[in-house]
């Protein structure tokens, strides 16, 4: 059974279709969602978090149908969600804020709930600021607070919208560790702009653009898309789809290499650029 099974999802805002017949499956492990701004990633994740209902299409989560109100509650009991910009009650302390979400997650017994709040705060390293007001926390701490509430009750499906945005490298490492641990025995679906995040921790990757799925597969199979299509040269090649000057002074190119070009190993980023470059809006060289 796949944790996430979406088929032909459509979600329109006025005339704009944020999701345009998007299909996706994701199982145990970390699935990374890559795509440019406005590709529909956030709409997709809000839909998978059961916050939005799709206009068309079918979405089954953890074997249940999201369109049925009763099954939706069942799904929500086993779901953890980090919105792109999670709001908090700023006059609450860190502890109270997580405790508040724990109540919404139906943890009614006070002692057990408080123990669970302490557990997730410790997981993200916020136990020392648990009595600090949310408004006094730094941006990175608030990201961690967001992740802490998502981890409440050890959900079987974690939906994380850009969990690593705005974090410094050390905090990112910590987040990767937490998310990869979570992905060992459950499904984690996360969106990111960082191809390094995907390469570092995702067992599968989905590329979306304009509300549709461009690619689904493993990280190596996405990298393979760019095999033989990445080269370096001493001068800039204007025919390349994308190119930039490396620190070494050489120019890194992605696209259709000229004959005799000096090919180099492709990265996930190269493959991502190539995939998006197949669209009418090419990445500027």
């Amino acid at each position: 059974m796949s944790a996430v099974r979406a088929q032909g999802l459509v979600k329109a805002y006025g005339r704009k279709r944020a999701l345009d017949g998007l299909s996706l499956t994701a199982g145990t492990g970390v699935t990374g969602l890559l795509g440019p701004n406005g590709a529909g990633k956030t709409t997709l994740l809000r839909t998978v978090a059961t916050v939005l209902a799709p206009d068309e299409g079918q979405l089954r989560l953890l074997g249940r149908d999201t369109s049925d109100p009763k099954e939706r509650v069942e799904i929500r009991r086993r779901l953890g969600y980090l919105p792109q910009e999670p709001g908090f009650h700023r006059s609450f302390s860190t502890f109270e804020m997580v405790d508040y979400v724990a109540v919404l997650k139906e943890q009614t017994e006070r002692r057990a709930r408080h123990d669970e709040v302490r557990r997730v705060l410790e997981l993200v390293g916020l136990q020392d600021v648990s009595s600090k007001k949310v408004r006094a926390l730094s941006g990175g701490m608030r990201r961690r607070l967001g992740l802490a509430q998502a981890l409440l009750g050890e959900p079987e499906l974690l939906v994380l919208d850009e969990p690593t945005a705005g974090l410094d490298p050390e905090q990112r490492m910590r987040f990767r560790d937490l998310m990869s641990r979570a992905g060992e025995d459950r499904a984690v679906l996360l969106s990111t702009h960082q191809t390094e995040d995907v390469a570092a921790l995702c067992s599968s990757v989905v590329v979306v653009d304009r509300g549709r799925t461009l690619f689904t597969g493993t990280v190596p199979s996405l990298v393979a898309v760019a095999a033989g299509r990445v080269w370096v040269d001493e001068v800039r090649d204007a025919s390349a789809l994308a190119g930039w000057r490396l620190g070494s002074g050489l120019f890194h190119h992605v696209g259709n290499p000229p004959s005799g070009a000096q090919l180099v190993d492709a990265t996930l980023e190269d493959a991502y650029l190539l995939l998006l470059g197949g669209q009418p809006a090419p990445v500027a060289a």
Partner: protein
């Protein structure tokens, strides 16, 4: 520091088993603080899970936050602690909200005493106060945790009802107290109540289609349009609270509550873009 006597085996067993009476347990604890020998006998005998439980108990006492003023009041009134926490986050149960409420009521009372038709100002404004409070308590525009609350299993309808009830109670008590100070007939003190309930329920019903604050704004505009003629010289200033109007309000209340019941699933989803 050493001791000349040591705990008897059977006392130790009872303490470890957690069956020593409080007085005995206290004297065992007083003794082991000063006696290394008994401490060494005691420590390995206690089961680790029990130690963990004790430690958690200590953490809970030291670490659990002291609830804020709203929560303390609710707890004293007998509200369950998880419900109190949900209510404490309501924007329209905060100090700033009550201050603005008092300001509006004060002004309305002043105008009621200042002029002949001033009472219309009070009767027009008082029913709108709970409407604003209730709409604010669950609008995505004013509740920063709305997105998380929607994705959580806790029933959105229940959250709505709990919060609306709390806001209604607080607002109606305040406005009711102010209404006692109105000049004129004594029935005026309660005349605004049914319009208030009808408008609040109407806002909830409309919120199953539209954004709550927009719904509230729409109904408030309608209500003010209906009450406006009462300001005109020669008209009946109390037209909107006479028995005919009260009947209309009762009908609206019933229809609105029915609509909420039928369309309750609409509350369990977000309406559109994130805010």
């Amino acid at each position: 520091m050493s001791s000349t006597w040591h705990l008897e085996e059977d006392v130790l067993d009872r303490y470890v088993g957690g069956i020593a009476p409080p007085a005995l347990a206290a004297s065992v604890e007083a003794h082991v603080v000063g006696c290394a020998t008994c401490r060494e006998r005691l420590v390995p005998a206690v089961e680790p899970p029990r130690l963990d439980r004790v430690w958690e108990e200590v953490l809970e006492r030291v670490d659990a936050p002291a609830p804020g003023p709203v929560e303390r009041l609710l707890l004293r009134l007998g509200v369950r602690d998880d419900t109190a926490r949900l209510l404490a986050a309501t924007p329209s149960l905060r100090g700033a909200w009550f201050l603005s409420l008092l300001a509006v009521l004060g002004l309305a009372l002043l105008s009621a005493h200042a002029t002949d038709r001033g009472v219309v100002v009070f009767l027009a404004l008082a029913p709108l106060l709970p409407v604003a409070g209730v709409a604010m308590s669950y609008s995505p525009l004013t509740d920063p945790v709305h997105e998380l609350a929607t994705a959580a299993p806790y029933s959105s309808l229940r959250l709505l009802v709990v919060r609306s009830a709390a806001v209604l109670t607080a607002t109606v008590l305040l406005a009711g107290a102010a209404a006692m100070l109105l000049p004129g007939a004594s029935w005026l003190a309660v005349a605004w109540l049914l319009p208030a309930l009808a408008l609040t329920a109407g806002t909830l019903a409309l919120s199953t289609w539209f954004e709550p604050l927009h719904s509230a704004l729409g109904l408030a505009t309608l209500w003010l349009a209906v009450t406006a003629p009462a300001f005109a010289p020669g008209s009946d200033p109390l037209l909107v609270v006479r028995s005919g109007a009260q009947l209309v309000c009762l009908a609206v209340l019933v229809v609105a509550l029915g609509t909420v019941a039928v369309r309750r699933d609409a509350f369990s989803l977000s309406r559109g873009r994130s805010v």
